[in-house]
């Protein structure tokens, strides 16, 4: 191609540190290639051939070698293995096509719903080549063409996407039965159920379908799986099992009746199928150790939380109790202390009172000892006057002063000495302004 295409996006800028000998750096080689056959057609091929041959002559060996090297586009139909034809199947009546196994008729038993359109076409052709009645007649055979009609019917159904779905919907041979509890218990649980769901997945409107997985699947995967299947959206339908509706126009009522019956039957079967799937899921999930494991793990996690919470609650309770006890104890102690204090107080007061009484007795006694400051027998008036003054002084001083005074008076027997004490006291009180001049003069 001589002309150059123009690219409008710019080239990369040269990195500043880039350098190479003669500005060229070889880095790799072409990584992938195939030998193919170019078609020896057209003017450009002529040019190619001229260059490629260049006065050379190629031999038959060259041909074989080159052909072996070239990637093949057309594949050998012969090499495909074929399924043995069951003699019973060859005897089938074409009119019973509804009950025939279309896949078996075409030799596709092991593929069933997995057979591609291309496979079906090739299988059909193979059968036609073998069973075409014209061919058999040409070979002198007088066999009927029943089986050929079966082949045609099978192909008609399987090559029509709508009809094929209807047939696949009721193709029980493609079903994989769920494992019994016993089978599943033998350790193949995941493998067996995987097969069931793989087969069941053919009915899913949504593809791809999450896989069943194995014992190592994550909780997320398992959840996704069950979520998907419990919400399974299936295209499975049951019109293939319809009873034949009379095709004539006369029996309109009967026709309508049959149609209604069929519709109901389809609905019922669909509901049953949904229930079947649900039950299967229930059974499968019930035995699914992963679910148990996840539940235990979840429970353990939940339990731990609960225990933690309980412990915390217990501790809080205990703390509260201790606190309360401490408070109660403190209160009691305080009360007791108060009580003893009160008692001590009372005793002290009593003692003080007693001491006061005693001191006052000392005070009174002192004047008696001093014979009421009378020389000889004291006149009752003198006694009264002195005792009144003692009483007066006592009333002006507090207990401590009484005690101090009593202390001073105690042990004194000499009247003058006693008088001097009293004298000083009265003087002190007068100085302090507690007694007026001239009061308690009997003691001064």
């Amino acid at each position: 191609m001589a002309t150059a295409t123009v690219v409008s996006r710019p080239l990369l800028a040269l990195p500043a540190d880039w350098s190479a000998e003669k500005d060229f750096k070889p880095i790799g080689s072409i990584t992938a290639f195939t030998q193919r056959t170019i078609e020896p057609v057209g003017p450009h091929f002529l040019a190619h051939a001229r260059r490629a041959r260049h006065k050379r002559t190629f031999s038959e060996d060259d041909r074989i070698q080159a052909q072996e090297r070239a990637q093949k586009v057309e594949k050998d139909e012969e090499s495909e293995e074929s399924e043995a034809e069951d003699p019973m199947m060859l005897q089938r009546e074409a009119k019973d096509w509804k009950s025939q196994d279309h896949y078996q008729v075409l030799g596709l038993s092991k593929y069933r719903w997995k057979a591609t359109e291309d496979q079906i076409k090739r299988a059909h052709r193979k059968k036609v080549l073998k069973h075409h009645p014209d061919k058999k007649a040409a070979q002198g055979s007088t066999e009927d063409d029943n089986f050929f009609k079966c082949i045609q019917k099978a192909t008609e159904v399987l090559l029509d996407p709508v009809k094929r779905r209807q047939f696949d919907s009721v193709d029980e041979k493609a079903d994989v039965d769920p494992p019994s509890k016993k089978e599943a218990a033998k350790g193949n649980y995941y493998k067996l159920w995987s097969r069931v769901f793989k087969s069941e997945a053919r009915f899913s409107k949504q593809q791809p379908v999450p896989v069943f997985g194995d014992e190592n699947s994550t909780k997320e995967d398992v959840d996704t799986f069950y979520n998907f299947w419990y919400n399974f959206d299936s295209w499975r339908s049951f019109e293939y099992l319809d009873e034949d509706v009379p095709d004539d126009n006369e029996n309109r009522d009967q026709k309508r009746h049959m149609e209604r019956k069929n519709t109901n039957a389809r609905k019922k079967k669909k509901a049953e199928d949904n229930a079947r799937l649900r039950k299967m899921l229930d059974d499968c999930s019930a035995g699914d150790e992963r679910i148990k494991k996840f539940r235990q793990e979840a429970n353990a996690a939940k339990n731990k939380k609960r225990l933690d919470k309980e412990a915390a609650e217990k501790k809080a309770k205990e703390d509260a109790r201790l606190k309360k006890e401490a408070e109660e104890k403190a209160a009691k102690e305080a009360e007791e202390k108060a009580k003893t204090d009160r008692e001590a107080n009372k005793k002290a007061k009593e003692a003080a009172k007693n001491a006061l009484k005693k001191n006052k007795r000392v005070l009174r006694g002192s004047v008696k000892d001093a014979n009421y400051f009378a020389g000889g027998d004291a006149a009752p008036a003198q006694i009264d006057a002195v005792l009144n003054d003692v009483e007066l002084v006592q009333g002006k001083i507090d207990a401590d002063e009484v005690a101090a005074l009593a202390g001073k008076l105690n042990g004194l027997t000499v009247a003058d000495e006693i008088k001097a004490v009293w004298n000083a006291e009265v003087k002190r009180l007068v100085d302090a302004g507690k007694l007026k001049e001239g009061e308690a003069k009997n003691l001064a």
């Binding site: 996006r9 040269l14 072409i30 193919r36 078609e39 057209g42 060259d62 586009v73």
Partner: protein
């Protein structure tokens, strides 16, 4: 059996060569006049000549005359025999011969028993003999048209036509005094017919040829690289083709006839069936042009005439399953080639059934808008799908007729045709507007080597640029639409096209993205002028070694380097 080398070749100077498309249903002949192909009409004025041979009272008929004899002379009429050439009886499908002469196994040779003489016992005519006689008639028609005896031909064959079948065809032609210059694959002939048009540009492209015939449909994916063609994948389908469409109409008209005529089924009587088939096919063809067609048969069954109009929509409805089958077939073979519809540049619709507008529009809908769908109803410049193979064959015949047959043999030798093809693209890295490095292909994947391609790359700001040569692959990026937020009450209900819009929006978006593969080399071009361009030329040799040359366009010097073969 004669050896290959013993084949009598015609001296190039004495040749008069044509192109022949030899189908099971129809055949065509073409020659070139001033290098452009012309499809030749036979004496009946037909360019699509039914591949039918019939004998009545020792008289030989072909084409439409013979086909018409299927009604009253089916036993002595041979149809759909071409694919039987070179086959074993056990591997042929006699389905399409049911209402005509039946193939038989005569001592290991597929034959027909036909009364080809006025008197005496019927003859046993091998498929080769029938083919020889039919080809002789084709050659005669061509010779009559050209005014010179046709000596040689290029004949198209299906891509799965085996070695034995090829040999048998060559011998059958030789027996008809016709030298086969070359057998070419049918889809390649169709591509050549398009590529040889004067307005065609030589481009690297991936082409799908959907050849929808009468008894079979063949689809091929072809890499077209610098005018060299490589088959990447093929599919052959014997279930969905023109005959199935005939059958759809036959059933339709039969049922309508039964409704009106006390359940008389025209399909149960051979003669009625033949009439029904012939008129159904004619109606089908009429529906490719008009939106209505008339089905009309005198004495269809039990002496009752039948006449009915059908419109195209009705036809498209009852034929939907067959049409959908074509889409699936095409999608399947693209997948088989490891490609995506986004990789396809051109779809060539070939074969008679490709005239059907609905088939073309159905295909249109599965390809991106950038893919050209070359069919009469989707492209005004499309060629007649029924003529592509004959045209391609005629072009090839004119290209090679001047060569000695030994020369042709040697040039088409597998040692010449088997070559390396690179699996990945080779290109350079460029910078996108967002500053991302992007792979820009220079040589496309599946290019046969040796190959050389050149590009000019902008160097906007000039200065020093890096030419980084890498391999590239593609992947398909699928973007799911954002879930639509419903506008509450803002839009009126009577907004008619809102429904349509929303469906459009919800479709996922698929695009082809280049992936950067392994690096092959780096080169520097320095001091490029602002706004200048850099030329990058890549040459891959036979042995897959690579030579890279690059320079500033208009500048002196440049860089040249090479890479070792892998």
């Amino acid at each position: 059996m004669a050896e290959k080398s013993a084949t009598p070749g015609v001296a190039p100077g004495d040749r008069c060569a044509i192109g022949i498309s030899f189908g099971n249903s129809y055949s065509s002949i073409a020659c070139t006049i001033d290098d452009s192909p012309v499809v030749i009409a036979n004496e009946d004025g037909d360019r699509q000549i039914p591949t039918v041979l019939s004998y009545v009272d020792g008289e030989e008929y072909t084409g439409n005359q013979a086909k018409a004899l299927l009604v009253r002379n089916p036993k002595n009429t041979a149809v759909a025999f071409k694919d039987f050439l070179g086959q074993d009886f056990k591997s042929i499908d006699p389905t399409h011969c049911h209402a005509a002469a039946h193939p038989e196994d005569k001592n290991g040779t597929i034959s027909f028993t036909i009364q080809d003489q006025v008197e005496g016992e019927p003859s046993t005519l091998s498929v080769s003999e029938i083919s020889t006689r039919y080809l002789r008639r084709l050659v005669q028609s061509a010779s009559d048209y050209i005014g010179k005896k046709v000596t040689s031909a290029v004949v198209t064959v299906p891509t799965n036509f085996g070695e034995k079948q090829r040999d048998a065809l060559i011998k059958a032609a030789q027996a008809a005094d016709l030298e086969i210059l070359q057998l070419v694959n049918e889809p390649i002939a169709s591509v050549l017919a398009y590529d040889a048009r004067p307005e065609a540009k030589l481009e690297d492209k991936i082409v799908v040829v959907a050849d929808l015939g009468g008894t079979r449909s063949d689809v091929a994916v072809i890499a077209s690289r610098g005018g060299l063609y490589t088959l990447l994948a093929t599919a052959h389908d014997y279930e969905f083709a023109g005959a199935q469409l005939d059958k759809v109409l036959m059933d339709h008209f039969a049922k309508e006839f039964m409704k009106k005529n006390a359940n008389v089924d025209p399909r149960e009587n051979a003669k009625s069936l033949a009439k029904l088939k012939a008129e159904s096919e004619a109606t089908k063809k009429a529906l490719s042009i008009g939106t209505n067609a008339n089905f009309s048969v005198e004495s269809l069954a039990e002496g009752i005439d039948f006449q009915l109009t059908i419109n195209r929509l009705r036809y498209e409805t009852i034929a939907r399953k067959v049409f959908e089958g074509f889409n699936r077939l095409v999608e399947g073979v693209i997948k088989k080639a490891g490609l995506d519809v986004l990789d396809i540049d051109e779809v060539i619709l070939s074969g008679g059934t490709s005239h059907t507008p609905r088939i073309a529009s159905n295909l249109r809908s599965i390809f991106p808008g950038t893919t050209a769908i070359l069919a009469p109803s989707t492209s005004p410049t499309a060629l007649n799908p029924s003529e592509l193979q004959a045209r391609g064959a005629a072009l090839q015949a004119s290209l090679i007729q001047e060569y000695e047959s030994d020369d042709i043999d040697q040039s088409t030798h597998p040692a010449v045709t088997t070559v390396n093809h690179i699996s990945n693209a080779i290109g350079v890295l460029t910078v996108s507007e967002d500053g991302e490095e992007i792979f820009t292909p220079i040589i496309a994947p599946e290019t046969a080597v040796p190959a050389r391609r050149t590009v000019h790359v902008e160097a906007k700001d000039g200065g020093n640029v890096l030419v980084k040569v890498v391999e590239g692959g593609t992947h398909i990026k699928v973007t799911k639409p954002e879930p639509k937020v419903k506008e509450n009450g803002t839009k009126e209900d009577d907004d008619e096209d809102s429904d349509f819009d929303s469906e459009e929006e919800e479709e996922e978006h698929r695009e082809k993205i280049w992936k950067i593969g392994s690096t092959l080399a780096e080169a520097a071009i320095k001091d490029v002028k602002k706004g200048g361009k850099v030329e990058v030329a890549i040459t891959v040799g036979n042995d897959l070694s690579v030579i890279i040359t690059t320079r500033e366009v208009g500048g002196k010097g440049g860089v040249r380097g090479s890479l070792k073969a892998p």
